[in-house]
């Protein structure tokens, strides 16, 4: 089982230094993480930019929504044709309205699903975490094997973590 540890910092520079030292000590990118109570600009702590494919989700959703809208409008009119005044059974302008709403609805729902997925949520086990993070502290977590956790604790302590807590994954 992996062990996890969190060091709490009040200063952004110290948290960034902690990440530098962890990197120098040979910890891999997926072994450490910064937790903050607000969205700092990317790279504030020297962390790597998270890769994501969020922009594909609304596109895929829009296509699904468009097809759904088309099936509802065209399908229902063909299934129950109301021939009015010699006009065509498939009335494109009203179909376009519902297909448009379907497209947008699909894009929005898939965006939300995409955000949850790309944020790696829902997360059942919190691992090492401290409630002070939402009050302004910056948490540096290390999740690694049992034998490397002691060294990580030393690094966080040496840099000047205000507090250090252990958790598990």
């Amino acid at each position: 089982m992996k062990r996890s540890i969190i060091g709490l910092f009040l200063d952004e520079n110290l948290a960034a230094d902690a990440l530098d030292d962890l990197r120098k000590a040979g910890y891999e990118m997926d072994e450490y993480e910064v937790l903050t109570g607000l969205p700092y600009p990317e790279g504030t702590f020297g962390e790597d930019e998270p890769k994501h494919k969020l922009y594909r989700w609304p596109l895929f959703g829009a296509v699904c929504g468009f097809i759904m809208g088309f099936m509802i409008t065209a399908g229902t009119q063909v299934a129950y044709p109301l021939v009015t005044g010699g006009k065509p059974v498939l009335g494109v302008p009203p179909m376009a309205i519902i297909m448009y709403e379907g497209t947008m609805l699909g894009a929005i729902i898939f965006t939300i699903i995409g955000v949850v997925f790309e944020s790696r949520l829902p997360r059942i086990f919190m691992g090492a975490y401290d409630t002070r993070i939402t009050e302004g502290y910056i948490g540096v977590t290390v999740t690694t094997s049992e034998d490397k956790i002691e060294e990580a604790e030393k690094i966080l302590k040496n840099i000047g973590a205000e507090d250090i807590k252990r958790g598990w994954e």
């Binding site: 910064v34 109570g37 609304p58 509802i72 299934a79």
Partner: protein, 457 residues
Amino acid sequence: MQEHIQLNQKEINDISLSPILETPKWWLPAVLITFGFIVTGLAAFFYMVYHGLGVTGLNRPVFWGFFIVNFVFWIGISHAGIMISAILRLTQAEWRRPITRAAEVLTVFSLMAALHTPLFHVGRPWRTYWVFPYDFSRGVWPNVRSPFVWDPSAVGTYLIASTLFVIICLLPDLAIIRDRTTGLRSKIYGILCLGWRGTPRQWKMQTIVGILLSALVLPVFVSVHSIVSWDFAVIAGVEGWHSTIFAPYFIIGAIHSGVSAVATFMVVMMWVWKGNDKILRPDHLDAIGRLLIIVATTWFLFLFLEVAFALFTLERPEIALRELQFFKWPFSGLFILFLLTSYFIPVPMWMFKNVRRSLPLMFISTILVNVGMWLERFLIIVPSLSRKTPFAFDWGSYTPSIVEILIVTETFAFVIFGLLLFSKFFPLIPLFDIKEGMVFRDEIKIGRRTVPASIRE
């Protein structure tokens, strides 16, 4: 924005979460009173269901009355939230931060209120499901060429979109409540926030989704009130309705009433929740007041064009309708009241900085706008139907019954009730957005002055 009170993250949490962690004394009485109005309205509704629509004032030829007026009104209010939130997010306007959540939540509850009234209006609400394509067994499907099928698709899309928008932007704030509570409450908020921790990946997604959803919801926002306007505009037989300008006219009218409603709500938030005045400042009201002058004046231009284009043709039925609207009692009195309350009183008031920064005056002026905008919808719907038209053979007038008044009152109580409940369980001010604004704010010295500046990527 030249003024602010610098707060740290803990102070922001304390202020914004105080309505959730400590129930204000007025909260329960307010909830009970609004709930009383809701129960009364529902009793009136069931009375109407039992006795039929004959208990309303609706009769030939005025079949659309208070219910539809109210429907259009609440759809209008709902446009505020997303408009303010989305446009201000996309343009990265700093003053948006404390008001986006309140505006979005107002959107959700006013949309729910809007959906109430057509249900009441149809007389047999238990058959509402007929607008959905459900009947696989008999092969009878809804007529997609009817605006009354477009309406549920547009309003439904908007309601789902704005609700999801609120929920996804709430996640970081739910995590804050989780961290500030204990026991079962903490566990429930822990589940609701989906185990949010605040990793760079999660923050990046949160930042992108704010922009992405804003961009996606704005076209829906435009389509919703356009489609509502087409409920009227596609009817060729009613003068005053069959107008190409209706879609943009309705949208700008919705923005006018909606932004005013947000300003009213902001004032109430500053009054009733202690400490909010440290986050919501008079300069936020000032900014929204300036925005309202532009919105109101654009709306007034559309109102002028709508009347001018109608009269330009010199068609007798159109002139007769305008005579009824402008010069025949009681519509003439309502028309004057409408013009005064929606434009000629509030806009000159907003010209003055002292008014824009005054809570009582902003409250009064924005309430006046919504009185006026409710009357606008009434004056569009009722006089147009009161006249004999090519497809109807009656003249008639309309007097709302007590049943309709109670049901319409219920929708107002419902929105207030919803906002009160929301404020008890979720923060009305987006905490992480405020914190971001506070942390990335600094002061710079230019010559002999020190001015606030925002740091942005």
